[in-house]
């Protein structure tokens, strides 16, 4: 017996209607597939329609005055099953589930930009005054170990507090530990020589390496979170710049908006400190962000070029 089957065009219209009624303007349909399945000992036919997302982003370049409308192609984030005989939707995902999937995808992109930025600009991050201040015990350890050639960690409260920094230096192969005696590793000695025995520079270099290789450890395990907002703010800028494929100039408000949207931070405390974060990120020795006029921020060309070379372009579409 031949059975009537709803046509693909009808199914697409039906799913468009569901998107319009329940989901939102950033979703559309993909190419449906037709399948047969045996359910309750009966052959049934279904149309499976992928739900695909494009996430728009509007960037205003304050230097050129131009607007850019960018679409991040996220691709499939769910699917709807339509009974091909009755035309009834039989599997429809929850809106909250689709929203979470899309948010996870955006998070994945965000984390990727963050990871590449940490690698690319680790030396500049290492020069941040707030971080240097927070890592004073680590800097003291480097100096003392290099000056005295060996160091024994005292069994005191202060000594125990230093333990996490010892671990960081050890994991990153800057020291050796033998029977409780800490010594500079050959790598650290060699670097120190190369840097003309400059203590400031060797400290920066060690911190750079730790940021590069152990950022997650210092953030999650040692709870040293001072660097986090600096990475997030600069990452927000470079995320936007990468999607525009250009070293754009953003107003302070737009940069704050980008930071808020990408990281979901809207706290008044963060907003209060935002100016200071920007000031530090743009200091002469740091220059991760560059002032491009009153209240306008651009990026560092070298960092941007490095990021572009490491970030796949094909996932982004740009217009205007």
């Amino acid at each position: 017996m031949s059975r009537s089957i709803v046509q693909k065009e009808w199914v697409l219209r039906k799913v468009d209607e569901i998107i319009y009624n329940k989901f939102g303007t950033n979703l559309g349909t993909g190419e449906p597939s037709f399948i047969s399945k045996i359910t309750d000992e009966r052959q049934r036919y279904y149309w499976i329609v992928p739900l695909e997302a494009d996430y728009p982003r509007i960037i205003e370049d304050k230097r050129t005055g131009s607007l850019r409308y960018i679409t991040l192609h996220i691709g499939k984030i769910g699917e709807i099953w339509i009974d091909a005989s009755t035309g009834k939707p039989v599997k429809v995902p929850k809106r909250s589930h689709l929203n979470k999937t899309l948010s996870d995808e955006l998070l994945r992109v965000r984390n990727k930009v963050e990871r590449i930025l940490i690698r690319t600009a680790s030396l500049q991050f290492a020069r941040l005054i707030s971080l240097k201040h927070m890592l004073t015990p680590l800097r003291n350890l480097i100096t003392i170990i290099l000056k005295r050639e060996k160091y024994i960690l005292p069994d005191t409260v202060r000594g125990r507090k230093l333990q996490k920094f010892i671990n960081l230096l050890y994991v990153n192969q800057f020291i050796t530990i033998e029977r409780g005696i800490i010594r500079p590793s050959p790598t650290l000695r060699l670097l120190f020589e190369k840097l003309d025995e400059n203590y400031e520079l060797i400290q920066e270099y060690v911190i750079k390496s730790i940021i590069e290789n152990s950022y997650q450890t210092i953030y999650k395990e040692y709870k040293i979170r001072v660097l986090h907002p600096y990475i997030q703010i600069s990452s927000s800028y470079y995320d936007y710049a990468l999607s525009a494929q250009e070293l754009i100039s953003l107003s302070e408000e737009d940069l704050w908006e980008a930071y808020s949207v990408i990281y979901g931070v809207y706290s008044s405390r963060r907003r209060f400190r935002f100016d200071e974060y920007l000031r530090e990120l743009s200091q002469k020795s740091v220059e991760i962000l560059i002032p491009a006029g009153e209240g306008i921020w651009s990026g560092n060309e070298k960092i941007f070029r490095d990021l572009v070379s490491q970030f796949p372009k094909e996932s982004l579409v740009r217009t205007i």
Binding site: N21, F23, T71, E257
Partner: protein, 185 residues
């Protein structure tokens, strides 16, 4: 008699860069237009207040257009406003503009700009037309932004020729729509 060109004057403008908020901004512009004409009853909210009402449903997916009515109730009594979701052709859009009933259209903005297909829809308020262009108070592009008709029709048909009309019921009852319109090009 059909007009060759028309533009609604002093139409409110809201610019919005947040992703997924173009429909909210367009809705606000239309409601404010009716409010200024004296058709709405309640105190009219600021855009920040208004968009805040919709925020939790915008999130990453954008706002589902068919839910507009459920949210407008928070700023205006529903017995005063009618929200309709329709499909049409260009002549209907021009007619609505010319009688002072600005439609919100949903279309593929990326396709309009560079013929690249996008899954996302953009919403804008049409407030005028000429022989070559439609004019929109556009949440992204700003005031009286010209959309070239031919390209717009293609980008609009890709999303099913949909438009949303938001109108005060009192205005509809007047049954003399032209009295509500004022403008020129």
């Amino acid at each position: 008699m059909s007009l060759n060109s028309f533009m609604l004057s002093n139409f409110p403008i809201i610019k919005e860069k947040r992703p997924g908020y173009c429909l909210i901004a367009s809705t606000y512009m239309v409601l404010k237009y009716w409010y200024v004409k004296g058709f709405l009853s309640r105190r009219f909210p600021t855009y920040e207040e208004f968009s805040g009402i919709f925020a939790h449903l915008v999130n990453y997916l954008g706002f589902p257009p068919n839910k507009l009515r459920d949210y407008i109730i928070k700023v205006e009594e529903l017995k005063n406003v009618r929200v309709r979701h329709r499909t049409a052709g260009l002549s209907t859009l021009e007619y609505l503009i010319s009688v002072g009933r600005p439609p919100i259209v949903l279309f593929d903005f990326l396709y309009y700009q560079q013929l690249a297909e996008s899954k996302a829809e953009h919403a804008t308020v049409l407030i005028g037309f000429g022989p070559e262009n439609l004019y929109a108070n556009d949440p992204i592009m700003g005031e009286k932004y010209p959309y070239e008709k031919k390209r717009f029709i293609n980008a609009w048909s890709r999303k099913g020729n949909k438009y949303i009309s938001i109108e005060p019921i009192r205005q509809l009852r007047l049954n003399n729509f032209k009295s509500g319109a004022s403008g020129n090009l």
